[in-house]
């Protein structure tokens, strides 16, 4: 038994890799589905806030991520953009990360084509600028100074939907999809706490726990964040709420099985460690 446990404890890591791969591939290949009700929580809060926005509201959407976190944040982006465009909410897009500008453009143009909304009337992509938090503060005094043109080099003054937007305060909501810094903390610090513009967001699951303090509601006061989509589950929640299940919802079965596999690994690892460790101490003796 000891030898077996030792062998299990020293298993080649490539066996673990194979098991992990199977845990993800098999549920996806079999198209396993699981019931996934969305309860009260930060995902529902953000959905509710966006749903309550009147038509022609103006939302600033910042794509603050890159391809490394695309599997988590792109489904969120698609769900949010679909929701807003379906409700006739105007979207002004931008990015604090260079590759976010192009990733955002991919989402905006594909959703716009499917829903029949028009660029420059219903949405515009201002592109990427360097500066992070400093840039966000600059938006508080002049959007045009920070973004003289949009991604396609059309001058700010020639874009119809921007004619009555001059600063950050002219927006009804800021949504940031954030993979790190600059991201949610910068937007909360400047847009929400300094300029009083409501902020909602989506982030990778790695960083979601650290943003929960911003979600607390106190009586009579607006929370620092109106809602938060955390990781692939947040994206799946939003897809479920807008009744357009996509890649995120489809991935939840694989996520479930993979979590169970990781938990089994941890339990087995602890069993082998304590069983072989206890036997080692007994063999050493004399203590």
């Amino acid at each position: 038994m000891k030898k077996l446990l030792e062998r299990i404890g020293n298993v080649d890591r490539r066996i673990i890799f194979i098991l992990m791969a199977l845990a993800v591939i098999v549920p996806l290949a079999l198209e396993l589905t699981m019931e996934m009700p969305v309860g009260e929580g930060p995902s529902y809060d953000l959905y509710e806030y966006v749903e309550d926005l009147p038509a022609d509201s103006r939302v600033l959407m910042s794509f603050d991520y890159d391809p490394s976190t695309k599997p988590e944040l792109q489904p969120m982006a698609r769900a949010l953009v679909t929701h807003m465009m379906s409700n006739d909410v105007n979207i002004v897009a931008m990015a604090l990360w260079p590759q976010g500008a192009t990733l955002g453009q991919t989402i905006l143009s594909s959703v716009s084509d499917s829903l029949g909304t028009e660029q420059y009337q219903d949405w515009v992509n201002l592109g990427y600028k360097t500066g992070g938090q400093v840039l966000i503060v600059r938006l508080g005094s002049s959007l045009e100074a920070a973004f003289p043109t949009d991604l396609e080099e059309v001058p700010y003054g020639e874009i119809p939907m921007l004619s009555d937007i001059s600063t950050l305060r002219d927006f009804d909501l800021v949504i940031t999809l954030s993979a790190g810094d600059p991201g949610i903390p910068a937007w909360v610090m400047i847009a929400s706490d300094r300029f009083g513009v409501p902020v909602g967001g989506g982030c990778t699951a790695v960083s979601a726990p650290q943003f929960y303090p911003y979600l607390q509601e106190r009586e009579g006061e607006r929370p620092q964040m109106e809602g938060l989509l955390g990781g692939l589950r947040g994206a799946a929640d939003y897809e479920t709420l807008i009744e357009r299940p996509g890649l995120a919802a489809a991935g939840m079965s694989a996520q479930s099985i993979a979590h169970l596999v990781i938990m089994v690994f941890i339990v087995i690892g602890n069993i082998t460690f304590f069983a072989t460790g206890r036997k080692k101490r007994t063999k050493g003796g004399g203590r």
Binding site: V24, E72, P148, G231, R233, A254
Partner: protein, 216 residues
């Protein structure tokens, strides 16, 4: 073969090259890794020059469109050039000037924003009534308030963690352990989500093209 299918195959083959690292380091992985680094750098260079420096600096300096030229914009241009001198060891000392602007501006902004959002506002949100929310509300608010206070005591190393202080610090680290457990759970979720995304690409976008490519 359409450009769409060609693109999917390029992405899929490069994905498989990178995944080959799981077996062991190999030339395919190194090729894909180096290609990724180079292409990402090219992307950053294009965006920085043509979509930041040109509209936000050059057009303002020379007066693009109806605007008048503004020679004051020479100063940030000079500072930007000085930054590039960092690659020349003998001239790197001049890059201190633009660095000073970046560091000073960033530090000044962060001082007020971090203090306001992560300091004062968090303290304000911790000052909550313990009563008024029923038993569950009482317990939750008690954990919240005591967790924050005890957590802060744990991080205060100027006083020995003994006696009452030690008890508070011990409570603090216990609450922090629960928080770190939650963070670990979310971290595992994040990593697996990334794998799920790429597996979906390989299974649902690439594999269906194989019969078409093979003419089946």
């Amino acid at each position: 073969m359409t450009t769409g299918i060609l693109g999917i195959w390029a992405g899929a083959l490069l994905t498989l090259c990178l995944y080959s690292f799981l077996y062991r380091d190999n030339p395919f992985y190194r090729f894909a890794e180096h290609l990724f680094v180079g292409m990402s750098a090219g992307y950053w260079a294009v965006y920085t020059i043509f979509y930041v420096l040109k509209p936000n600096w050059w057009d303002k300096l020379v007066g693009a469109g109806d605007a008048d030229p503004n020679m004051l914009w020479i100063i940030p241009g000079v500072l930007a050039l000085l930054m590039l001198l960092r690659v020349v060891p003998k001239l790197a000392v001049y890059s201190r000037l633009p660095l000073a602007l970046i560091v000073g501006g960033g530090a000044g902004l962060q001082l007020v924003t971090f203090f306001q959002t992560n300091g004062l506002k968090q303290v304000e949100n911790t000052i909550i009534p313990l009563t008024g929310g029923g038993t569950v509300g009482f317990v939750n608010n008690l954990i919240l308030v005591s967790g924050v206070v005890c957590g802060l005591v744990y991080f205060f190393f100027s006083k020995a963690h003994k006696g009452f202080t030690g008890g508070m610090a011990s409570t603090g680290i216990t609450i922090l352990m629960v928080a770190f457990g939650a963070s670990f759970g979310y971290t595992v979720m994040a990593r697996i989500s990334l794998l799920i995304g790429q597996t979906q690409f390989l299974l649902f976008e690439w594999l269906p093209t194989i019969p078409r490519v093979l003419g089946l």
